[in-house]
Subunit: 563 residues, 2 copies
Amino acid sequence: MSSWFEKHAATLDKALDACARRYSWTAYPESPSSRVHGTELPARGRREFEALLGERFGIGLLPGHDGWVGGEVSPFSREALGIRYPRLDVDTAFAAARRAWPAWRDAPVRERVGICLEMLARAGDPLALFVNAHATMHTAGQSYIMAFAGCGANALDRGLEALAYAWKAMRDVPESADWERGFGGPENARLEKHYRILPRGPAVVITCATFPQWNGYPAVMANLATGNPVILKPHPNAILPVALFVRSARELLVEAGFDPNLLTMVADDRDHQVTQQLLLHPDTAIIDFTGSARFGSWIEDNCRRAQVYTETAGCNSVLLESTDDLAATVQAIAHSLCQASAQMCTSVQNIYIPAAGIRSGQETVSFDAVCAALRDAVDAHLCDPAKAAVLCGALVNDGVAQTIEAMREQGARRGHIVRDSAPYAHPDFPAARTATPLMLAVDLAAADLYGEERFGPVSFLIRAPSREAALADATARVRERGAITSHVYSTDTQFLRHAVDAYQVAGASVACNLVDMPINFAAAYSDFHVTGLTPAGNACLTDLAFVTSRFRIVQAKWRSDAR
Amino acid sequence: MSSWFEKHAATLDKALDACARRYSWTAYPESPSSRVHGTELPARGRREFEALLGERFGIGLLPGHDGWVGGEVSPFSREALGIRYPRLDVDTAFAAARRAWPAWRDAPVRERVGICLEMLARAGDPLALFVNAHATMHTAGQSYIMAFAGCGANALDRGLEALAYAWKAMRDVPESADWERGFGGPENARLEKHYRILPRGPAVVITCATFPQWNGYPAVMANLATGNPVILKPHPNAILPVALFVRSARELLVEAGFDPNLLTMVADDRDHQVTQQLLLHPDTAIIDFTGSARFGSWIEDNCRRAQVYTETAGCNSVLLESTDDLAATVQAIAHSLCQASAQMCTSVQNIYIPAAGIRSGQETVSFDAVCAALRDAVDAHLCDPAKAAVLCGALVNDGVAQTIEAMREQGARRGHIVRDSAPYAHPDFPAARTATPLMLAVDLAAADLYGEERFGPVSFLIRAPSREAALADATARVRERGAITSHVYSTDTQFLRHAVDAYQVAGASVACNLVDMPINFAAAYSDFHVTGLTPAGNACLTDLAFVTSRFRIVQAKWRSDAR
């Protein structure tokens, strides 16, 4: 048996402690700075990425390989990556996973967890992180820095967190027990009992176009650690980051003496999608899905015999009631409107402002003045093109640009445009598909516009008759469409407490008066990401519920006092 | 806040320890013996039960009360109990649960768990246990002794076990955390975070006709402890035991300052069943079901938006391959065929015997001789009418008698009758609906007969071409119909290990060579009851997965370094 568990035992212990006490910690390098890595490693990472372009992706033989697929286009260069991935026959892929399964199922929990720890460590190796950053940038549209940290260390930390919870849940089951009692006879009966962790079965993990690793790593770790083979299905626009991880992980599985088909990737393209075929396959025992709320809901309704975990999207809101630092407040909110072009699951969309304005220190600031301050704060974030590029990245697909067009037209008709969206000039990629935030002022009558997710840099400054009306509407949206983040800004302690309670009872977590930090940030080991109580997802990354149903317990018992 | 948590803290700690180390322990009195309780208390229990007969059950005002229902008939006296229970309007019952919910939801976890511990303690009070024993006997058909222990202490222990797991899962979430990290600015951001346990919503708990408390207590405890209101729906044949518990628990809730509608009972009768209305109610967030596999499967397929936990039934089997003590082996198996007239979820139905016979010590015993030994062992259990009555109890309903009729006819045609069933004369209740075991010898071609649950004292002695064929067929039944207990008797270590693995991989737990004890016995704190991997149920009593999804975590965070 390998010594990977021992090698990474301190990391696992630290992750368990961080989950229990929920402080800030990371096990992986977050910064791509040459001050940390020198200049050669980043350059090598770029070269390795560039060498992948226009080629068949070398991932070895995958089961059921019957052709090639792949149509990724860089949101920055707008050029096709030209990378082709094996196309797999779905039934063959499942059959291979089932064949690979028994040895993994029967391996000691420590061995599986050790291999998973090593899998993360290899993905967290600096060179791998640089390659991953370029791969993420040119598929998911994230800026290089965001791609390095957000889809590198931050995502790996979530994977390690899920692994720690899986370990904790399995460790809760003892391996054996002695049991003794009388049944009225002359002697007690003594039994020896053995408890066995039995994984549920093949897991299908669907990753999304914008942050494929962030939910992907936790799902893969939770499934593999508990003994389930995994079939990864990347979004057709963002295959490469997943493929890099799968290649590395499969090599490790072989090195560890296991069948690599414990982890396969079934890639597809937009014209021949295999997602439903995977989800409805009779072998599918577990589904982890990140993507649209509509499809997530379809899965919850239709994939009845699988254990389903979803993170989709919601109508994230800000309720701006009062502040003692308007400048910092609008700066913080504006950051969320810009970051990753508001294509994060934590991006804010709906900003409620009472019609009578808000208290700012001793003054009242009118609705229009708050809108102007928010607009100016967005502009301030974007005035330096280099910084704007780092902050905003690119639009992941043309659909986002179309959403902006549609909302501009509707917003102008139903309310007014506080700030129009326009492409910004990316300093390195002139062809990049970019857009600055579109900000629309509307009132509650436009709930059909803002009452669902408008994916991308579109926000609504919602004029509410009162703070109570704002809170009622915001929490109604949480119930109806879900939310992943919610913010309240208020200096009125009583109202703040009331608002937090109202959001929480509606199923949402709340951040209060967050300023001087990126308010989109969700911290591994600390923030329970997604509550599971709203249409924005039925699962939380990561809690015990995320892992406890991925395995079951079977036992054997016999009399230990018999001959 | 009450001191019930403190009062019962040692009991909870002991339960947690027992769950972790899985030894034998009970927190409640198991024996009804007058050596323990004297003679007055048992007599008083009987008088209290008798005083209930023919009356409206005094449970105070239940929400939406619009009439009376109840048609229970004693399987022993065959007389109507004549007890009438409030009939409730379902919508009103849910509305009342929702009104009662917030105060309970927002109560400290310790307070809720303390009240639950007291609820169990009151149900475990000796007088309550005596009343409960009579109530269970004259509804579920259990013998007095079985009703006292199996539906008393044994069931309460399972409730305490679920409560301990709920406490453990909730305790895993800290109340608050300090979090600090830099985001590139001059100073770190420091956040204070608070984590709140949020229950999922109203739970509907469906109890069964034969052991209403055994699954009922764990479900009620797991739900109430995690903050969910509960609507109990007893089987129309076994309302009284549930009603006694609900009355006591509601009194306690009032005493503790809570709305008693946190726990209501919606009784019905066979002609006007409300189960589907409850299950499909839009307010239903959680379902706990014990009952038929068919209905359990319907719930899993149709109650999509609720968290569903089922324990149904399976084809429990014995694989008899070899033994070094045939007398003890057949005695143990025969006990399972007799106990509670094989109306337990752990009763054995299918006994596989190789056609060439089995090795017993140095001898080979033929198939027919094994059948004869099993028949004789059953007869030996029943020769003393008083003991037979204690062991077998009564048939819970006429359907069981009809099953015996049908299987006798089919078994004689398709195989042969090894032992016919007949009523036995109950010493105390001449009218009792009783039946001794029907034992049918068949071969694998009769899989349509034995391949599903035949509820009641019907067993199949299955002539298998070989031990491997026996194992293959038995595990195929597990996959197809589920199993709650499986037994292997073999002195061949290698075969035994192979058989255990095959059963486990099919999703079943296995008992090996159990003799000299009641093999149906499932021990709280020790046996993970139901694996959740077969059609016999999707949930286990009790593991972390049974409790972790009954609540969710919402958080609030703010900068602790701000003004």
